[in-house]
């Protein structure tokens, strides 16, 4: 089962650079409360725009980036049509997990375990099937909507973590422990990127939770 799916290596493209500085060629208004526009870049990349800057989502991306897990689509602060906000890369071909009756069978087991680890480190509370994507062709997971409701509200939905544990995916490989250790060592530098208290709390909490995982070397029994 572990080798049932191969997650193809991603080409080295600077998606975040495009979000931050790339030429925007088209902006299409969208219906909805939170996401108000679809932005198309000159290089073909597309992103969703929200007219509010949520540094919590930036922090989630920084944490994932430092772990090297590649589970959070790139996000960047940017003004679009003179309106400050947040751009989130649109993951083409991926759909919210609730479109699938058994989403867990679409993803590579190690990808599922990585996502469970990241959700534990983030202390995600709203990881319902609306809030993560499945890419059937690459067997990947993407964690989205990593905002106040995900990281700080008093909710208790942990679909990915619970699924990993229920499938016995709990013990961490040496590679994964090394990645978490790299995050633990490097995470103090993330504190320099923001002055917002809520975001600093999330970053400090993430470091503490990484330390717990490094100590236990498993995600079993971490959340009761």
């Amino acid at each position: 089962m572990e080798n049932a799916f191969e997650v193809p290596p991603s080409p080295q493209v600077d998606f975040r650079g495009t979000l931050e500085k790339g030429d925007i060629i088209e902006t299409t208004p969208l219906n909805g409360g939170a996401v108000t526009a679809l932005v198309v870049f000159k290089d073909g990349m597309r992103a969703f725009f929200s007219p509010m800057v949520n540094s919590l989502e930036l922090a989630a991306f920084w944490i994932d980036d430092l772990l090297g897990f590649g589970l959070v689509p790139p996000v960047a602060e940017r003004s679009v049509n003179d309106q400050p906000g947040l751009l989130r890369q649109l993951v083409g071909g991926a759909k919210p997990a609730l479109y699938y009756k058994t989403w867990e069978e679409m993803v590579q087991p190690q990808e599922l375990l990585k996502a469970a680890v990241l959700d534990y480190i983030l202390d995600s509370r709203d990881r319902r099937r609306e809030n993560f994507l499945i890419d059937e062709s690459s067997h990947k997971l993407w964690l989205i909507n990593n905002d106040y409701y995900m990281l700080l509200a008093s909710f208790n939905s942990r679909d990915i973590f619970n699924t990993a544990v229920n499938r016995g995916l709990t013990d961490l490989s040496l590679d994964m422990l090394a990645a978490i250790d790299k995050f633990y060592s490097g995470s103090p530098s993330l504190l320099n990127r923001t002055e917002e208290k809520e975001t600093l709390d999330v970053l400090n909490r993430a470091r503490e939770r990484a330390s717990i995982i490094l100590d236990k070397k498993t995600v079993a029994n971490l959340w009761h």
């Binding site: 219906n31 909805g32 679809l38 989130r88 649109l90 609730l98 099937r129 609306e130 989205i144 909507n145």
Partner: protein, 93 residues
Amino acid sequence: MYFVDLFEFDSRAKQKKIATFKMEEGGSNGVEVEGDSYHPAVENLRGEGIFDYKNAAPSKLYPDDGLSFLENLKYNFRSGYLSASEVQKKTVD
């Protein structure tokens, strides 16, 4: 009548309306669905409900909870892949 539209981003990268959730003003029958009531996003709501995001409370809301349910749909569907509108009001003659 109060209503909320639910949209998905389809395979052609276009936003498409899936369903409308509506409730009569002063009505006691809760929220009804017009449109694709078998869409996974709609079916999931009936079974699992949604959190009370507005009050940041871990309790769940269901269509029978009326306006509270409608008001919280935009928080439950807050990505571009699935988006819910604000609650809108339509005067019925």
